[in-house]
Symmetry: C2
Amino acid sequence: MAKKKSGAQTIVFPSAPRIAGWASVVGPKEGQGPLGKTFDRVLDDDLMGQESWEKAECQMLSQAADLAMKKAGIAADGIDIMLGGDLLNQIISASFAARSLARPYLGLYGACSTMAESLLLGAMALDGEYADCALCCTCSHFSTAERQYRFPLELGNQRQPSSQWTVTGAGAAILQKEGPIQIVSATIGKVEDLGIKDQDNMGAAMAPAAADTLLRFFADTGMRPQDVDLIVSGDLGMVGQTLTRQLCLQQGLSLDERYIDCGSCIFAPDQDAHSGGSGCGCSASVLNGWLLGRMMDGEIRRMLFMATGALLSPTTVLQGETIPGIAHAVLLEKGVV
Amino acid sequence: MAKKKSGAQTIVFPSAPRIAGWASVVGPKEGQGPLGKTFDRVLDDDLMGQESWEKAECQMLSQAADLAMKKAGIAADGIDIMLGGDLLNQIISASFAARSLARPYLGLYGACSTMAESLLLGAMALDGEYADCALCCTCSHFSTAERQYRFPLELGNQRQPSSQWTVTGAGAAILQKEGPIQIVSATIGKVEDLGIKDQDNMGAAMAPAAADTLLRFFADTGMRPQDVDLIVSGDLGMVGQTLTRQLCLQQGLSLDERYIDCGSCIFAPDQDAHSGGSGCGCSASVLNGWLLGRMMDGEIRRMLFMATGALLSPTTVLQGETIPGIAHAVLLEKGVV
């Protein structure tokens, strides 16, 4: 099997590296949402007894990593590479978690696409035999993101209807040769930018990248939407998910009810999250909680998981730039038992 | 040949992916330094006709990438993956350069270790046959880094003797199956932190990671320093380089005059750069200018290139955290002609 066809953005992993263990840790609001029972741990207090939300975010990532290792039955010294990142400047949550882990570490920045980016690079490392075990992880925290990207929480700013709510959550997956969930292929996204400038509408900014990656995946693999049981985007929210459907349809790709979005699922309408959840931790916690759980329960056999990121910074917005987006996808399959 | 021995941090690339083209673009101060003639392009004006230094930094990275592609004889659509990152929040220089390139893109954050991180992931992608051509690149800009990490330039703050000067520069390398420089192996670093809190002494903060990665490389490969012609660290500067020598010596590894540091080479003593150069662009421009040039001239046949990063953020410093460091290394060889 060719690992990559000329001109394709999708790479195939002939050995299908496995997700051997996974875990999610989320904040209180996420725990009260419709998926609350599917996470491994729901925090009572999103400060976690730390002195700052930034330290809590790091702690949450470490906890998710520890739980995933425990579930995969390995100790920290069994990790060959940690691949991780987060939304904070200089990805401090991931880097400080890597300091505690004390294993080889490669820092990533894909904004909210990081869960898929870490899985695809981890699968590459395992399939290529450069590692026997990889830890792929990411996180976000409402209170750190809000004050870094937007306004001090104390200001109590009103939110736009198209705004999203950054998920307080972390997800971690352990890749090994053996395990129940296979990573079959990965589609590496291009940066797409249709000129959205409204930083309160990230879903619209990310939709073109999401649609492009979906179109590339189906073109590269020759598959049709009905060949997968579930197509999941990361954190487009209600607005971005609708736009993604429309952009795909314009190109002849019809996504039916098998297409869902983590950001549109994680909060209930009465939770005041407006267009839905966002942040690296959104798709990371939903994948490493609800979604892989559904695969284990036999509800889903083949799932295309695509995490989506908006590559803006407060500086680029102030300098009048539009908001580029990116989306990476991995095709997951539950092995036949 | 095994790609990775159990417990090792060094991975071997049996097909030895090649650096087929490379280029460097630097600012005026770097051009006036001792290595000035070895860069592909020296800017007259580090604003490059843009409206902001951030836009100039992005432009500089795109120029380095274009030059490297030209030298490798490929067009943008020949790039299977762009692997890049930089020092700015949300790695906007790399992500906005990726938007112009319009090819599959994976964003990295390794602070000033990014050149080595991108080369090692690119070599993994090529050796594992997931890509035929990878663009590995990074950059930094004195004026963007200064105002993001330290103070407004207009303030004219005094600098400590141990301070370093962020290099205005970009470096890009094109990896392909054929080409003059082989990437033989890579050593993935762990985060090391010996408790340095002084953000005006990054060299001291990074030295433990540099020493650890060097020790791991020699332990993993069974090589001795005399087996390589040159050992190069990224941007430790005078202070960090001296400490790295001492830390290695304490562990029985003696580094003689074949060990140099890009940050200690790029500026002359009278250029007022104190402990030396720093920033992702420091080792990136020196590698993709002077060092690969020396390999082509036959002066160096085998070189261990190790880029070093300090994983702090202004927030972690304000929150009383120490400064973690990381270092990744790649072993390069000039193929026999």
